[in-house]
């Protein structure tokens, strides 16, 4: 029983990182209706930049975290300028945007490989205070608590930002109908650029937390989370931020539960994707998504 509870707690921690990653993914999809497949590469670079700041720059993690997130956000702006903005007016922008974001992902990964090498690297010991709590037989580390707190506060801030502020309203308006938003005097290009900045900054933050949690960073670590992120945003409903958060938690929990029930890690991803497949058949718009009657 304790073991199961411990697994559930672990699922919660990793699930909150998935959620944070997926929120950024879904934000861009909600506004542009385009998948940004370079999100995982920015996730990787976010983690690696933070590591570089801590290791070579001697910056404390508390400072390196926001700095690396902002750097990831700036990479998002670059990504938008190079790979998405020129294609926006094209009729096949859904497909071509997919490909150009893959091209940028390859370039980003090459940059990560060139700058940081192919080795797997880790944060120096003592970056995060090592402190554990024992509550009724369950072990929780300081790092785990910090991860959940950071991820949760970022997600809450984002939800409030999108739901309550004027700029958030503009983002939703652009997502609803670009042309109508233009007519209402919203600076659509600026809003899209801002969306990319926020989305990528969150992706970078997720990369840092992921790197801290597994204490292992490689130039291709984004690949393992890319598919899971896609699964999470579909599970939650494309474009839905609360859906992405819930989806992330559900995915993290399903992973640890499958391991706990079957006793091996082989079937971990298979169960998750089988569930995803079935959900798509029953509720194509995801758990919290709104269906579109007709795609123009």
């Amino acid at each position: 029983m304790n073991l199961l509870l411990q697994q559930l707690i672990n699922g919660l921690f990793i699930g909150s990182v998935y959620g944070l990653f997926a929120v950024g993914y879904t934000l861009v999809f909600g506004v542009l209706d385009m998948l940004n497949l370079a999100h995982a590469a920015i996730f990787t670079l976010g983690g690696l930049i933070a590591l570089w700041l801590v290791q070579s720059g001697g910056v404390s993690l508390w400072l390196a975290f926001p700095m690396a997130s902002i750097a990831a956000g700036l990479l998002g702006l670059l990504l938008n300028q190079v790979a998405f903005a020129p294609l926006r007016k094209r009729s096949d922008s859904q497909f071509s945007g997919l490909i150009s974001s893959i091209a940028m992902a390859i370039i980003f990964e090459a940059a990560a490989l060139g700058l940081f090498g192919a080795r797997s690297v880790r944060f120096p010991v003592g970056t995060v205070p090592i402190h554990t709590w024992q509550i009724g037989g369950i072990t929780i580390t300081f790092l785990q608590v910090a991860i959940v707190c950071v991820a949760a506060s970022l997600m809450v801030t984002l939800t409030l930002f999108i739901g309550r502020t004027r700029i958030g309203k503009a983002i939703r308006a652009v997502g609803e109908n670009e042309r109508a938003a233009t007519l209402l005097g919203i600076n659509v290009n600026g809003i899209i650029a801002l969306t990319f900045f926020v989305s990528s900054a969150l992706g970078g933050a997720a990369g840092i937390l992921f790197g801290l949690y597994f204490n292992n960073l490689t130039p291709d670590m984004g690949r393992s989370i890319e598919l899971k992120g896609l699964a999470v945003i579909i599970l939650g409903g494309m474009g839905s931020i609360p859906g992405a958060i819930l989806g992330g938690l559900a995915f993290g929990l399903s992973e640890v539960l499958t391991v706990a029930v079957t006793g091996t890690s082989n079937l971990r991803d298979a169960v998750a994707f089988a569930v995803l497949f079935v959900i798509l058949l029953i509720r194509p718009s995801g758990l919290l998504g709104r269906g579109k009657t007709r795609e123009a």
Binding site: I99, A103, G114, M238, A270, L280, L281
Partner: protein, 290 residues
Amino acid sequence: MEYLLQFYAIYGSVINFIGINALLALSLNVTLSAGMLSLGNAAFAAVGGYTAGILSVHFNLPYAASLAGGTCAAGLVGLVIGLPVLRLRGVFLAMATLAFGEVVRLAAVNLDITGGAEGLTGIPNVTTTWMIYLVLAGAAYFIAVLRRSRLGWGLVSMREDETAAASLGIPITYYKVVAFVIGAMLAGLAGGLYAHLNYLITPRDYSFFVAVDLLIYNIVGGTGVWYGPILGAAMLTALPEVLRGLGVTAGPIRMGINGLILLLVILFLPNGLASLFERRRSSAVRAEAE
């Protein structure tokens, strides 16, 4: 002649892979021409490849029978998956096929008959270069004919506007399933050829990234004409070798150039490499007229 033989000795495997990749790209093109984005074709190739491999390793069936078995198995799976999945559109279809692909890959990792993560070994090594290109030529001819058939035009009209196509009496679901199954069978055939080319197949050969590569071949080459996917597959499969020949060593720089070329093609050649030929042809026509 000697030079040619030497060239083949060095680049034979690249030439073979160009053929296989082109065949896989063509298999995706069938559904893509109807505006359906499937990321399941790598999985269909896996079904074809593993079936062919199992038929010849465990049941000692001859080459032709194992290829046919692989093709039919992929088609059958395509039918079973296609019927429920094809109600979905756009990104959702892509995601459902992607989820299916992951399930197939993970099944291959976990089953005993497929050899697990190590892969299936000992598949007779009988596919030759001319066979691959014979099949490719046949498939290209088939696609070219298909495009000008009733089914082909129906698929194009569905891509343009599905509701309008339905109102004109085009049997949407039927055409979709037929296109999906044809694509699955072509992919299965390519998978079977690959299995018999390579002596072994592993689950890694058919990951998500392979499915995405097939899409890249199509978009880079151009989806509008039958030779587009072949061009895309040929260029992108040969690119690492060409870069190596130019003295760009492996590692980040070659990877970066790879990405950069992909980016440039997608930004500046909206209809893919095939549009280069189209442009030249149309300007030639214009020159004649003048």
